[in-house]
């Protein structure tokens, strides 16, 4: 089921209503069953896959907990990893791997005809696989006792607000909340509704309306574009993917909030970050912290952090392992997580390079205070936007051509798109800055006077409701569904 639909609104209303009416145990059954229905409304047969993945880690984590033999524990963990990653490789990377293998063999003169596959990528597989892996690894690490109540555990893996596109949740962050019966508070409903309205606004009013524009400019021949066109392409898609994905996270967080369940935040104004390190503490926070704790820090032999606070950083005292090699490997995998293509690997390596450069510059940078922050933002914002080119284009040849245009300022300021494209890109930049200022400065002032804040809420919610319902149409999926 997709969020930007009438079906979801009615489904959510019914689930929330039942949730607050039912006692504790039936609530867990309700969440599990409704999550299966939620997923099944996409393709029912694929719910089996989610269940198999969940049952596998349910059983293995109990076995890990039972055994005191460390070799056997490790063996069970490896089995779980091979099983989960095997599913991911089969559904997501098989075509990529075989196509590349065949191309390689053809280079050596072996003529092999390309294989044809018709594999449908199960919705959200990258997300729920990471979630089940983290559960088993946490049990193995001793961070967590496995849960015997299958409905409780199953609700954690399949919980519908986050099942398809995150946030990727740690068991510790959610299961305890699912296991208790929170007392009903009106603030859950008002806070949840506001988050959902904001999310729908970002998706159905902004993203869905700029999507045709992005499609059009990415269809244009790269050779005909100037440097300003390439920048505009990068920025406009940068805004599209940000609004689209943060919209999903807002709706996910808001939906959970309606049931009194708190999810960790997944975005925090990433485009206002003053360093790349900060950018990754603000963008897709649950993924970057997952990668840090389950890949990067283990590669370095460092102590993991066990919390979704984002950022891929390593303690300053770290002397273990080869930090740079681990950094590049982690980022290449992070790129591949998004999609089976070399363009995504390039995206990852691009970010790894920027982080490495930043670490180097930071050692020699004597600037301090606001000047440093402002200069940081001026550099990070456009370079982060530029990284979206391989994300959207997928042809590395085109990506290199576009980077070259930017570097040598080819074609200068010659325009190839209609004026509206440049104008909307500019206005979206302003919108991001204004929304940050509103959130950080205006809202705290308004909140000092409950009546002023209430009036502000009424006006904003009136507009959001009218616009969201006016534009609510499942015309496009969320971009992160394809990852």
């Amino acid at each position: 089921m997709i969020f930007n639909s009438v079906t979801y609104i009615i489904f959510l209303f019914l689930v929330v209503l039942l949730y607050w009416v039912l006692p504790r145990k039936p609530r867990q059954v309700l969440l599990f069953v409704s999550s299966i229905i939620f997923y099944g409304l996409w393709r029912f047969e694929y719910t089996l896959l989610v269940l198999v993945s969940a049952i596998n880690d349910y059983g293995i984590s109990i076995l890990i907990d039972k055994t005191s033999n460390s070799k056997r524990k490790k063996g069970l963990l490896i089995f779980s990893l091979v099983f989960n990653l095997g599913l991911l490789v089969y559904f997501k990377y098989l075509m990529f791997l075989t196509t590349n293998a065949i191309s390689l063999l053809n280079l050596f003169g072996l003529e092999i005809t390309p294989l044809e596959f018709s594999i449908i990528l199960p919705l959200g597989i990258s997300f729920y696989t990471f979630q089940t892996i983290s559960y088993t690894v946490d049990v193995y690490r001793g961070f967590l006792k496995p849960y015997r109540n299958f409905f409780l555990y199953g609700s954690y893996v399949t919980f519908f607000p986050q099942l398809v596109a995150g946030p990727i949740l740690r068991a510790k962050e959610v299961i305890e909340q699912l296991s208790i019966r929170p007392e009903f508070k009106l603030s859950y409903i008002s806070d949840g509704v506001i988050r959902i309205l904001i999310g729908l606004f970002l998706k159905v009013v902004i993203t869905d309306n700029i999507a045709p524009m992005v499609d059009e400019i990415y269809l244009m021949e790269v050779s005909k574009l100037s440097a300003i066109d390439v920048w505009t392409k990068a920025f406009l898609f940068g805004f599209q993917i940000y609004f689209d994905f943060s919209a999903y996270s807002h709706i996910a967080i808001g939906s959970a909030m309606l049931m009194g369940i708190q999810f960790p935040e997944n975005f925090n104004y990433p485009y206002l970050a003053k360093s790349f390190k900060a950018f990754w503490k603000r963008w897709h926070i649950s993924l970057s912290s997952w990668i840090r704790d389950y890949l990067y820090l283990p590669l370095l032999g460092e102590k993991v952090q066990d919390k979704s606070t984002g950022g891929i950083s390593v303690s300053k005292s770290s002397k273990k392992g080869n930090t740079n090699r681990a950094l590049f490997l982690t980022w290449a995998i992070m790129g591949l997580w998004h999609g089976a293509s070399w363009a995504f690997v390039f995206w990852g390596v691009y970010h790894a390079t920027l982080i490495l450069l930043e670490r180097f510059v930071a050692k020699h940078n004597s600037l301090k205070g606001k000047i440093r922050s402002f200069l940081g933002w001026i550099i990070v914002f456009p370079l982060a936007m530029l990284s979206w080119l391989p994300f959207r284009d997928n042809s590395l040849v085109n990506v290199f051509k576009m980077f070259k245009k930017v570097l040598i300022f080819e074609g200068g300021l010659n325009r190839s798109f209609s004026e509206n494209v440049y104008l909307i890109t500019f206005l979206l930049t302003i919108l991001v800055i204004l929304s940050y200022l509103t959130y950080s400065y205006l809202l705290p002032i308004l909140k000092r006077n409950i009546f002023a804040y209430g009036l502000f809420l009424i006006i904003v919610i009136t507009f959001l409701t009218a616009l969201d319902l006016t534009f609510l149409r499942p015309i496009s999926q969320f971009i992160y569904f394809q990852f």
């Binding site: 079906t7 009106l186 008002s190 190839s416 919610i461 409701t465 534009f471 499942p474 496009s476 999926q477």
Partner: protein, 389 residues
């Protein structure tokens, strides 16, 4: 006694509820029933597509049924034919009176008496790629087309691509351009995609909603549920019926706000967009070559332009454009320069282009007298060219 936190939470809950109710009330109370198809033309300007005495359309808008149009023309199968491809100028009349006709209507009535069929197709802001698709479609579907009349607007050289809003439904014709060039391939694949989309939506019984609204559901179980729910909402609730209108109003307000903020009016210079301009030039060459191959007489028209006030083009860019179109005479193509034929008093006004404005100058559409002059000039030229037309 309730705690302060509980009181505040209750108050904010009420505010949220009130906001949601107000939002729904705003939508329900919306009453403006503007036809956004004609809104850009201005209140005094209407679209008119001429029909013959039997009620068959002789002026085709690609949004309408291509099948009905072709069937209607089948009674003229033995006639020699003239095809006119234009933009909204050819199907819009300023301050239209009851029996006023467009230039295509007048030309049809004049030519038909000589047993020549004049027929037309037009789309607002049509670019050359769209003209290319339509010309190929008509050349392949209708016999005896001897002449193509093609007005080339400097304005339309700023446009790009085949628009789904006009050609999405047309893709049902299963038509594919037979020529082998990269543009034809691109257009064909677009038509195929739209055709697939229509196929996947063909089981829909909820005619009240636009099929495009469900693209993301793509045959999933939710698709069925969503359509049913939409249909129920559409039938039962005002606010749901008003959605399309409100969307139109929203975009119009955005457009007017943009123009007001940046001081954009109908007279603001519209600069050439180089890559689109070049693409349209390349496409015009394809149309010319296609006409040559098929032995179809092509007449390019530099269309009427309002010259009593400053026109919205960069002077040097516009004169280069005219030079470019005129240069085709060297290749044996007739080029008609009709720039000055419509007198200033025959031009009208368009919708306001800014907030707090009632009207603005119209540089594209004229009153019925303009249509008559246009049609008469074509007829004069056709007589001068004797058998060329």
């Amino acid at each position: 006694m309730l705690s302060k936190e509980t009181r505040n939470n209750s108050f904010l809950f009420v505010c949220t509820l009130v906001g949601v109710i107000f939002g729904l009330a705003v939508m329900s109370s919306y009453e403006n029933k503007t036809d956004f198809g004609d809104a850009a033309l201005g209140k005094g300007t209407v679209s008119y597509f001429h029909k013959d005495k039997s009620g068959n359309s002789i002026h085709f808008l690609p949004k309408n049924s291509y099948n009905d149009f072709l069937n209607g023309l089948s009674i003229y199968s033995s006639y020699p034919k003239i095809l006119f491809l234009g933009n909204s100028q050819s199907h819009s009349i300023n301050q239209k009176e009851l029996n006023d006709n467009t230039l295509t209507g007048y030309l049809y009535e004049s030519f038909i008496s000589d047993s020549i069929l004049f027929f037309a197709s037009s789309i607002p802001n049509a670019n050359l790629q769209e003209h290319y698709l339509l010309s190929q479609f008509f050349f392949d579907s209708i016999s005896n087309i001897e002449t193509l009349l093609l007005p080339v607007f400097f304005d339309d050289f700023r446009e790009d691509g085949i628009r789904e809003s006009y050609f999405g439904d047309f893709s049902k014709s299963l038509y594919q351009i037979a020529e082998n060039n990269s543009l034809a391939k691109r257009i064909n694949s677009k038509l195929e995609i739209w055709q697939q989309k229509i196929k996947s939506n063909s089981n829909d019984t909820t005619a009240s909603i636009e099929n495009n609204d469900f693209t993301a559901l793509n045959k999933t179980t939710q698709d069925v549920v969503e359509r049913k729910l939409n249909d129920v909402l559409y039938r039962k609730f005002n606010f749901w019926q008003n959605r399309q209108q409100i969307r139109g109003e929203f975009f119009t307000t955005l457009y007017l706000s943009r123009n007001t903020a940046f001081g954009i009016s109908a007279q603001t210079t519209r600069k050439k967009i180089t890559s689109r301009y070049l693409k349209n030039k390349e496409t015009l060459s394809l149309i010319i070559n296609s006409c040559k191959k098929r032995d179809i007489n092509l007449i390019l028209i530099i269309p009427p332009l309002r010259t009593d006030i400053k026109y919205p083009y960069d002077e040097s860019e516009y004169s280069q454009f005219k030079e470019y179109v005129n240069s085709f005479t060297l290749n044996g193509i007739h080029v008609l320069d009709l720039e000055d034929i419509v007198e200033p008093e025959y031009w009208g006004y368009s919708s306001p282009t800014q907030l707090f404005q009632t009207k603005d100058y119209d540089f594209m559409h004229f009153q019925v007298e303009g249509h008559k002059v246009f049609a008469d000039t074509i007829l004069d030229v056709s007589q001068n060219l004797n058998n060329d037309i």
